[in-house]
């Protein structure tokens, strides 16, 4: 009871930040699993010791403290939790029911909005994703030109603030899609206004905003030093852009076509920004330039047709392998809420079309973590890292594989979810 009080207090007080340490995370030893740290060699049979939400030790021989809770994992594979680098988890329940959709604000420029402030921490899609081995996700806004700020969250916690690893991870800019409207589930194309087609013109507008933000910041700084100067009126859109201009808030640019990617590379270089690209369907055509610019890429959903038929029926499937071959760092994404659990299968699909299997795994673990700026915190099984650990009975990227245990920030996670609850309910009832 006492512990619960502390816990509730922590939930109220802990405004944001990583939820690694908690009074409720027990000392756990995962024993006998084949450990796949992702960085470094596999450990055929080893132990992982978890304390205070972190990996305290791992290896073939780990001395266990007394009173430790032991999870027997012989025959299982231990992976770092998977990371979805672009998802709508918590912002969308039923795609077709507008009342349940919160990731797309109206208007063209919305740097002031933050997904963390709308994130439904008890979304039915979150427990489904984590019971498939996904332990963290970048929850993104969409729409317009500047869509807002994403949040990197752990997929477990008492509320969205408790789950937040980075409450404001990226500012998102969207360049035109390759087709007007994507092919939906029923083969239909999305309606609505077609986006302006010219990436150069869009980025010129963003550039104007960045300059405005730089000037705005300067004026406010001067005004605070010199009372004779009028302070510029508070503008909620310019603050986040100033963060971007200073390089404190990275940009994630949704960019799809070869031509637009080139334009975006130039924009990032000229403005001296920290940026990651998302989508990048024709990235393979400019892989050398991407590598040169050092811009990592979050791959959009592979559940889509090639952007143009000339690229080949398998263009989306081959793209990640070709990018990695050229030296570009990539991460995969579900680009979804309702199908977020499918993240590992996007990686496997790319592996079927040329991406090395180990690189496929890295692109949903350590490389994703590094691209999202949390490489020191998660994405691999290493001493000192957050204990986001998945125990599976087979290859984690295979659909047939069963996830047996999930730990997020050192806490064992309940694997029941909307699927299992409904199945159990009607199994009992029969027909």
């Amino acid at each position: 009871m006492k512990r619960w009080t502390v816990l509730v207090l922590a939930a109220f007080l802990g405004g944001g930040g990583a939820s690694a340490q908690g009074p409720d995370s027990p000392v756990i030893a995962i024993r006998g699993a084949r450990i796949i740290p992702v960085v470094g060699e596999d450990i055929p049979e080893g132990t992982i010791l978890v304390r205070d939400g972190r990996i305290e030790a791992l290896g073939k021989d780990v001395v266990l403290p007394s009173g430790v809770e032991i999870i027997e994992a012989k025959g299982l594979l231990a992976y770092p939790g998977l990371i979805d680098a672009y998802a709508f988890l918590g912002l969308q329940e039923i795609t077709g029911v507008a009342a349940t959709v919160d990731h797309r604000e109206t208007g063209r420029f919305n740097p002031q909005v933050r997904t963390i402030e709308a994130l439904r921490f008890d979304s039915m899609h979150i427990p489904i994703a984590r019971s498939n081995g996904i332990t963290a996700a970048l929850v993104v806004p969409s729409g317009g030109i500047v869509s807002g700020r994403s949040a990197l969250i752990n997929l477990d916690g008492r509320n969205q603030r408790d789950m937040a690893v980075k409450p404001a991870a990226f500012l998102h800019v969207e360049l035109p899609a390759l087709r007007s409207g994507r092919v939906g589930a029923m083969g239909t194309r999305g309606g609505g206004e077609a986006p302006p087609a010219d990436a150069g013109r869009i980025l010129a507008e963003v550039r104007d905003l960045l300059n405005k933000a730089r000037f705005y910041e300067k004026r406010r700084a001067f005004a605070s030093k010199n009372t004779l100067l009028p302070k510029p009126m508070y503008d909620d859109t310019l603050g986040p852009l100033a963060d971007v201009a200073r390089g404190e808030l990275p940009l994630m640019i949704s960019v799809h076509s070869e031509k637009d990617i080139k334009t975006a590379i130039q924009f990032v270089a000229e403005e001296k920004l920290k940026a990651v690209f998302y989508g990048v369907e024709q990235g393979w055509k400019v892989a050398g330039e991407l590598k040169e610019a050092g811009i990592p890429c979050v791959i959009g959903s592979l559940y889509d047709m090639p952007p143009v038929w000339e690229d080949g029926y398998d263009a989306l499937f081959r793209n990640p392998g070709l990018l990695v071959k050229a030296g570009v760092r990539v991460a995969f994404s579900s680009s979804s809420a309702t199908a977020a659990k499918d993240l590992p299968y996007h990686a496997a699909k790319a592996a079927a079309f040329g991406l090395d299997k180990r690189d496929a795994l890295k692109a949903v673990t350590i490389d994703a973590a590094e691209i999202l700026g949390v490489g020191g915190l998660m994405g691999s099984l290493e001493k000192g890292k957050m204990a986001n650990i998945v125990l599976a009975d087979n290859d984690i990227l295979e659909p047939r594989t069963n996830v047996v245990h999930v730990f997020i920030a050192g806490r064992p996670v309940d694997l029941s979810n909307r699927y299992t609850e409904l199945l159990d309910k009607f199994k009992k009832k029969g027909s």
Binding site: G96, M124, K357, R400
Partner: protein
């Protein structure tokens, strides 16, 4: 059409046409594959002899008659061509949704053999699809079963042996729940509720019964010894004629059904009126009424897990397919999409996790089960002697996400050959101006 696209399609068309004989199917020997026959277990390092489009021999070390093309598939997996029980591809127009009842609108009349979705399907090992009238109204038109014979004229795609099926639909699409009402746009169409939907379907069937009785009475009098001189035939009604065929048993119903109550009610309606339901489409809540479905011997054609895209799919759990299959319902996994169709094998594999199906059971969901649902299990759906040689070759076990389809064969003719496609693509890049500049890879 962009020039390059036309070039590619032409190139592929020639590829297909060059190797396709006009009437009898092709002949070839497939050697050294791991055969997943679906109905006869797994055969390691075995061959398939195909003559004139039919599987003639299966076994180790078969000899090829002189001149017969040999395809060596060492290290690869060979499965029966994948069958998609529910799509809307290869059609010029999907929905006649202007009225609630349009059984005269036959999609078989608008088959589009140039739809690139056919090529997409082939690239995922799919050889046959049931392509359907859409779900916009309660009673739509007849559907059609097609083989994915890319490059052949549309009439050659149609599978005449398949059951004649008529589309029905229930739920949100029919009652237009997700329609944006526009000022000056069309007024709401009756029905707007699930009770209205059931009522119009019952009404049409009862009218069709009367219509059928009228014709029977007429035929009886006409063929009697003493036909009355004033006898005139009843008026022909093209809508009721189709429904009469359903009542006569010449056609079977395929019904889009989402939530459990509407699914159960349609099942009861079919019993009451005496027509056969071959399959419920999507059937998201089949798991809630699994005993009723198993008892009525009605199959379901469902997504593996694409759910929560509308309210009636909010309880469409990933366990649905596997759980129903384990409880005596004939289940197939469908794509309903020109994109998902190429990864149906990945979708089927999900039932191993959600539902605990074995490899063979999961593979059956996209081969023999849909074949049974379409009434073509005597000719396709498994690797058996005497069946049509619809075959797909994969780099690994198709229930593995790392597997890739490398070749798709229909009736002994190769319609998709990845090696050749990649080779031709590279050649095309070499000769293109952009390729010479190094702009394409």
């Amino acid at each position: 059409m962009p020039k390059k696209l036309r070039f590619l399609i032409l190139a592929l068309g020639t590829l297909a046409a060059a190797s396709v004989s006009a009437e009898a199917g092709g002949s070839l020997l497939i050697k050294n594959g791991t055969l997943l026959t679906v109905t006869r277990g797994v055969l390691v390092k075995a061959d398939i002899l195909v003559v004139d489009g039919l599987i003639r021999k299966i076994g180790p070390s078969l000899d090829a008659p002189p001149g017969l093309p040999v395809v060596d598939v060492s290290g690869k997996y060979v499965i029966p061509g994948i069958i998609d029980s529910h799509t809307h591809i290869a059609l010029d127009g999907t929905n006649e949704g202007s009225e609630a009842i349009t059984p005269e609108a036959d999609v078989g009349r608008v088959v589009n053999a140039d739809d690139v979705s056919i090529l997409t399907a082939l690239s995922g090992g799919v050889t046959m699809v049931h392509t359907m009238h859409g779900s916009a109204n309660p009673i739509g038109g007849p559907n059609v079963v097609l083989k994915m014979k890319w490059g052949r004229p549309s009439e050659e795609l149609v599978v005449p042996q398949a059951w004649k099926t008529l589309k029905f639909a229930l739920g949100e699409n029919v009652k237009q729940s997700n329609r944006t009402i526009q000022i000056g746009g069309p007024p709401p169409r009756y029905p707007q509720t699930r009770m209205g939907t059931n009522a119009v379907i019952r009404r049409e069937f009862l009218r069709a019964k009367d219509y059928l009785a009228e014709w029977e009475r007429y035929e009886k009098l006409r063929t009697s010894n003493n036909p009355p001189p004033t006898l005139v035939p009843p008026r022909k009604d093209l809508r009721l004629e189709v429904l009469a065929d359903v009542l006569r048993g010449r056609m079977v119903a395929r019904c889009h059904a989402y939530v459990a109550p509407e699914t159960l009610e349609f099942l009861l309606l079919s019993k009451e009126l005496g027509f056969k339901v071959a399959c419920f489409e999507h059937a998201w809540e089949a798991y809630k009424i699994v005993d009723a479905l198993a008892e009525a011997n009605i199959g379901i054609s469902v997504f593996a897990d694409s759910w929560a895209y509308k309210m009636e799919a909010a309880e469409g759990i990933a366990y649905n397919a596997g759980y129903c299959a384990k409880n005596g319902v004939l289940v197939s996994i469908n794509s309903d999409s020109g994109e998902r169709i190429r990864r149906l094998f990945n979708e089927a594999a999900k039932t191993m996790k959600y539902g605990g199906l074995g490899e063979d059971e999961a593979l059956a969901l996209i081969t023999i089960n849909p074949a049974i649902q379409l009434g073509v299990d005597k000719i396709v759906g498994s690797l058996e002697i005497g069946k049509q040689a619809d075959i797909a070759v994969f780099t690994g076990h198709p229930m593995s996400a790392y597997a890739r389809c490398d070749m798709t064969i229909i009736e002994g003719d190769v319609y998709f050959d990845r090696d050749r496609l990649v080779r031709e693509r590279e050649e095309a890049v070499q000769i293109s101006p952009a390729g010479k500049r190094g702009g394409l890879r």
